[in-house]
């Protein structure tokens, strides 16, 4: 069982977050879109899922809805690219649809690690 499952279609985001959390001592799993993430979560449930909103095949909000249905206690962080219209709206939607927290890209290392520690600590 991994500590964190990162679902993002951007390889750079996946790799940078993965490297960051491995250095922090967490075990990490990555997925390239919602469908892939759900499949990996079913195969090996994680304690926390970081989900991007805008993704091909299956986007973030619908993924969050399904994750929440499968595990009501799962920690979910929604992330989304910033600077364009509608993104903040999406993060609000993500929260209302089941995400515990939302971060608009770009975010700092301390923001994301602090949030992850807080959520995993609370669920420890």
């Amino acid at each position: 069982m991994a500590d964190i499952l990162i679902i993002d279609d951007e390889e750079m985001i996946r790799e940078s977050l993965s490297t960051l959390f491995v250095r922090e001592g967490f075990t990490v799993e990555v997925a390239i879109n919602g469908d892939d993430g759900l499949a990996k979560f079913v195969a090996s449930p994680a304690r926390l899922v970081i989900v991007d909103i805008v993704m091909p095949e299956k986007e973030g909000v619908a993924t969050i809805q399904e994750l929440r249905r499968s595990d009501p206690d799962l920690g979910i962080i929604a992330i989304s690219g910033g600077g364009r219209r509608g993104n903040i709206q999406f993060l609000d939607v993500a929260r209302k649809m089941g995400a515990d927290a939302a971060l608009a890209k770009p975010f700092t290392r301390s923001q994301i690690t602090g949030l992850v520690r807080e959520m995993l600590g609370a669920r420890a």
């Binding site: 091909p56 299956k58 364009r84 509608g86 709206q89 999406f90």
Partner: protein, 566 residues
């Protein structure tokens, strides 16, 4: 027929500076085309058939005349003015008009029975060639013939309702055409002639001059609508013509009512897909059939019936050839105005029934590269369906907008005038709720051509939007074409969503840079919906937003991002 040529001293009542100049140069030739022989041929059928015969004659003359002259009707004589051609050519053309008219009315076999002045039998080969040409022209007339037919019915009704005052001395109905006689050139009103629109003419001897006006020419009536005479009631009564006598109204060869009828001609186009029109034409054909059975000698009606039937058959063949035969409807799919959180526009998608619960739409109906005929048939079918759906709605109740797609090639092709005329059949107040979407504006289409079409369309509907290819980034051009917004359709894209996402971003970013609103159609999935919204598209449409309904909603529906996920 008697031909009266005034080659030495042309008589012209005046029709503007152009003709006076030609007259001064001796290039204006006036010849007469007398309908007397046809009147004698038809005998007592003449009264009923006269309007149609005159209409046929107008078309025949117009066909031969082109832009090189004008004509008008005085009694049973068409006065034709040929401009800028030699006398021998004018005489030949007039004879060809006679022949074509007679052939249309009575068939080619009887041509020699009439004693045309100056007629020389043609060699058989030339006759065959000319008949082929005539047949082709008759085919092209299929848009016009139904209106003759219906007008003939109207005239029938008018004749049956004719008051005793309309009858002649022998008690037979008299068809009167109030066309003022032509006068010498001395009666030309220089002021009016200078404007090129009004000419002083007398409706009757001793009467003050009336003001004939040249009506604005429409594309459909080009060539025929050159002369129009508005005789005053006083002038009519002075000429022994009752004010309420429909047959005593001036014969309009252009503008006004004539334009309306010409528009109706296009709307009655059998290939247009309007069930009501089909029914009307079928009914008309059945009536005509019955009449022909009752009176097999009625050659005029037989000719008319044959033309109508042929047009209907062609239309049906086209329909069966192009589309599934079980019927066509419009699926109205909502378009989401993201910023406002509402569904104000309903896009019309043609849907052909394959069975009771099975429809095909989109490219399954007309794939890309299907050909201009099929594309035009589809566009006209969609327009007719929309007209049918919109027409009964009170304008006050209609608060949403209907997006009517039409292909660029239809607007730029042979069926353009028919399409524009059909647009006018949408009730005027409702037209303000119609948005036309020009589909497939390709990169090869010039900016000016698109601009011209957009301006023309905007005279008929509220606004015009353009759908281009996803890879078409020529926003600098589109911005100058007066399109309200520019969009793409991704419903039939075969690329992966990953590739699409990149292209969607690449499309919308420059659109915004050029200050254009952007829309996207055919969004199938939630992820694409999220991408399009996040990218900054202003309008989003597709199954992910709403599947659509065969019933058109008249009110904009509230719709937000939460509705997408619910």
């Amino acid at each position: 027929m008697t031909v009266t040529a005034h080659l030495d001293r042309p008589r012209v009542s005046g029709s503007g500076g152009r003709f006076r100049t030609m007259l001064a140069r001796g290039r204006l030739i006036e010849l007469n085309l007398d309908l007397g022989p046809i009147r004698r041929e038809l005998g007592d059928k003449w009264e009923r058939a006269a309007p149609s015969v005159r209409r046929f004659a107008s078309l025949v003359i117009d066909r031969h005349l082109g832009d090189a002259g004008s004509f008008t009707l005085s009694g049973d004589v068409f006065i034709i003015r040929f401009a800028g051609i030699r006398a021998s050519t004018a005489s030949r053309r007039r004879m060809e008009m006679e022949r074509d008219l007679h052939e249309m009315l009575f068939g080619s076999g009887e041509t020699e029975e009439l004693e045309f002045h100056g007629h020389r039998p043609r060699p058989a080969r030339r006759q065959r060639s000319r008949r082929r040409s005539l047949r082709r022209w008759l085919t092209s007339l299929r848009r016009v013939i139904p209106s003759f037919r219906l007008r003939l019915f109207r005239n029938d009704a008018a004749a049956s309702d004719a008051s005793p005052e309309d009858a002649g001395q022998d008690g037979t109905p008299v068809h009167r055409v109030a066309v003022p006689p032509f006068e010498d050139t001395s009666s030309v009103d220089p002021a009016g002639a200078a404007q090129g629109t009004t000419v002083g003419e007398s409706a009757a001897p001793g009467e003050p001059p009336v003001e004939p006006s040249k009506a604005p020419s429409s594309p459909q009536s080009r060539g025929i609508d050159r002369w129009r005479t508005n005789a005053t009631p006083a002038a009519q009564s002075a000429g022994g013509r009752g004010e309420n006598d429909p047959s005593s109204r001036p014969l309009h060869l252009g503008g006004g009512d004539q334009d309306v009828e010409l528009e109706f001609v296009d709307s009655a186009l059998p290939g247009a897909g309007d069930a009501e029109n089909r029914e009307r034409l079928t009914t008309a054909s059945s009536r005509a059939k019955g009449r022909v059975r009752r009176n097999s000698t009625d050659v005029l009606e037989r000719a008319l019936y044959a033309a109508i039937e042929e047009a209907r058959r062609q239309s049906e063949r086209m329909r069966v050839r192009f589309f599934p035969p079980l019927g066509t409807r419009c699926l109205y799919r909502p378009m989401w105005l993201v910023e406002r959180g509402m569904l104000p526009i309903y896009t019309c998608l043609p849907a052909c029934a394959l069975g009771p619960f099975e429809f095909v739409t989109g490219e399954a109906l007309v794939p890309k590269g299907a050909g201009a005929k099929k594309t035009a048939a589809l566009d006209e079918m969609v327009l007719d369906t929309v007209v049918h759906d919109l027409a009964p709605r009170p304008a006050a109740q209609m608060r949403s907008f209907v997006c009517l797609p039409v292909h660029f090639e239809t607007l730029a092709g042979d069926r353009a005038s028919a399409y524009f005329a059909a647009l006018d059949r949408i009730p005027a107040p409702i037209r303000k709720r119609v948005i036309v979407e020009i589909v497939d504006i390709s990169q090869g289409v010039g900016q000016l051509a698109t601009y011209s079409l957009v301006r023309k369309l905007k005279g008929h509907v509220r606004s015009v939007i353009g759908r281009v290819d996803l890879t078409d980034m020529n926003f600098r051009v589109w911005r100058e074409t007066d399109l309200s917004f520019i969009g793409i359709d991704i419903e039939c894209e075969n690329r992966s969503e990953t590739e699409l996402i990149a292209d969607l971003n690449n499309f919308v970013v420059p659109a915004k840079q050029y200050g254009m609103q952007a829309y996207v159609r055919g969004v199938r999935t939630l992820s694409l919906a999220a991408v399009t919204v996040a990218s900054g598209f202003d309008y989003v449409d597709g199954p992910a937003i709403g599947e659509g309904d065969f019933t058109l909603r008249t009110d904009p529906q509230p719709f937000g991002i939460y509705d997408v996920y619910n």
